[in-house]
């Protein structure tokens, strides 16, 4: 479809932008970036995840500027991302080195290393806390002090504990297939547009930056019968993983010479999916495959839904929309979907007029034939 430019409205647009500022300022309250960082962690995580740029500070700024609109905040972050240089690629992140804050399994109650609830809403009463309407900084300080005092008596071990993966334990038992490390260069969807059929690496990259609601809805659709995957969660883990990189001009491959640059907080999920396969006697046998999900920050619903869709897309089937990679991958991107929907608000006068003219012409010809 060709686009026809329109002009005009400069003064009205200026006035509209002023009005936008007025709407944000008229309450005469200022939301500090540090307040968003301290109290809106889930939102910050979602913005980082959907914009595919890990920076809590910039995400908080985008949330403030977008007045809490997720689509606006993600748009701002993606736009800012396009202005930044990217000189480095990390060494492969090894999730076994995660400093775990939370780790649960819905498949086994006694997982090696144990289950850690961490901080979660999962077991809270979903009742509005009216006390928060009159929150008092002094009371909060007192609560914090009491909580810290209660922790100070805890004796720590000498060493930090790293948790084994549940799936590794099952692989050792021979219950899951073991795959040799595949070091093939991944596709980068930010450098080349998607071509179908695509690669596993491209699928994972698109899904991890997918819109939380869209990824969740498509994952849910699979559970409801618009797909063939209904997994059991093997392990959900939330925590911080270290990031290392080698010097871009390095000739020395010594890992001890790499840069440690800090850590990022992620959620990782492995889902166990029963599949029927033919055994050596050509009989149907039950096996498990793994669906994989991961995203920036703590967003377990999205990571679980991603693990469902990962498994769906590993088994293409045009009978089910959630097993169709074009359908899933082209519709879960926040900027693509919200951008295309919202462009409908912009002037379409010429295209609509031409359709109107066609209908008028048809009606006129119909009237002429009748008479």
């Amino acid at each position: 479809m060709g686009y026809v430019p329109v002009k005009g409205g400069t003064q009205a647009i200026d006035a509209s932008i002023k009005r936008l500022t007025y709407e944000r300022l008229k309450g005469q309250e200022i939301l500090e970036i540090k307040t968003i960082l301290s109290t809106m962690g889930s939102m910050v995580d979602q913005v980082m995840s959907e914009s595919s740029l890990y920076s809590p500070e910039l995400a908080a700024l985008a949330i403030k500027q977008g007045e809490g609109s997720m689509e606006e905040a993600v748009f701002l972050m993606r736009a800012h991302r396009s202005t930044l240089p990217r000189h480095y690629y990390s060494e492969t992140v090894e999730v076994e080195t995660m400093l775990v804050e939370r780790r649960i399994s819905a498949s086994f109650k006694d997982i090696p290393g144990g289950q850690l609830l961490g901080a979660t809403y999962d077991y809270t009463h979903r009742l509005l806390d009216f006390g928060m309407m009159e929150e008092n900084a002094e009371v909060n300080r007192k609560w914090l002090q009491d909580y810290r005092d209660s922790l100070s008596v805890i004796q720590s071990g000498q060493e930090v504990v790293y948790f084994p993966k549940v799936v590794d334990y099952l692989r050792e038992e021979g219950l899951f297939e073991t795959f040799e490390p595949d070091n093939a260069q991944p596709t980068d969807v930010t450098k080349q547009s998607l071509q179908f059929p695509t690669t596993r690496s491209a699928r994972l990259q698109v899904m991890t930056r997918g819109q939380t609601g869209a990824v969740t809805s498509f994952g849910y659709a699979s559970l409801r019968g618009y797909g063939e995957v209904h997994p059991t969660v093997g392990e959900v883990r939330v925590g911080k993983v270290p990031i290392y990189t080698a010097h871009p001009n390095k000739t020395d491959l010594d890992p001890e010479d790499q840069f440690y640059i800090g850590e990022i907080r992620i959620t990782e999920v492995e889902s166990f999916v029963p599949v029927t396969v033919k055994n050596t006697n050509n009989e149907d046998a039950l096996e498990f495959e793994i669906g994989y999900g991961v995203c920036y920050g703590q967003n377990e619903t999205k990571a679980i839904a991603m693990s469902i869709l990962d498994q769906c897309l590993e088994h293409p089937n045009t009978e089910f929309p959630t097993h169709d990679e074009e359908f899933v991958l082209l519709h879960i991107d926040s900027v693509e979907s919200t951008g295309f929907i919202s462009h409908l608000k912009l002037p379409h006068y010429v295209t609509f007029q031409s359709k109107l003219d066609s209908i008028r012409q048809v009606k006129k010809e119909g009237t002429a034939v009748e008479s």
Partner: protein, 140 residues
């Protein structure tokens, strides 16, 4: 001490040691700024555990600085927006590359800082272990 372990200590620590080390270098040696601290990105490569393959997870905002000391260029890289620490890291990196004599004395300080970091991490983990749970299945 090699760069990987050194940068782990200097970034995971509270920043005072990095500042002290960098200042002691710049007080004595000429330090030329090659690249002023600037924001950029690093693309994160991950290995997924279903098929053991690699993919790109997304980008992480970093601050990068480069300096030259005694003919050696040092690079400072840190996640987030932290221009000062990036500059300190670049100075320390250049100092180690140039093998300045001052660096010999810092080994013990770095090891002590590492002990403190690990102790703090173990303490935080012990506190989190209060949320360790034993789910029991019930007879119906």
């Amino acid at each position: 001490m090699k760069r990987r372990r050194r940068t782990e200590i200097l970034i995971q620590g509270d920043g005072r040691l990095a500042k002290e080390m960098a200042t002691s270098v710049t007080n004595k040696y000429e330090c030329r700024e090659v690249t002023a601290p600037e924001q950029g990105m690093i693309m994160v490569k991950m290995r997924e555990s279903a098929k053991n393959s690699l993919f790109y997870m997304g980008e992480v905002l970093i601050t990068e600085a480069k300096v030259e000391i005694s003919g050696e260029i040092g690079t400072g890289l840190i996640v987030g927006m932290d221009e000062l620490r990036a500059e300190y890291l670049a100075i320390i990196d250049a100092a180690f590359k140039a093998q300045l004599p001052e660096m010999q004395d810092w080994e013990l300080r770095l090891l002590e800082e590492e002990r403190q970091i690990n102790k703090a991490k173990a303490q935080q983990q012990a506190e989190l272990f209060k949320t360790k749970v034993n789910f029991e299945t019930m007879e119906v």
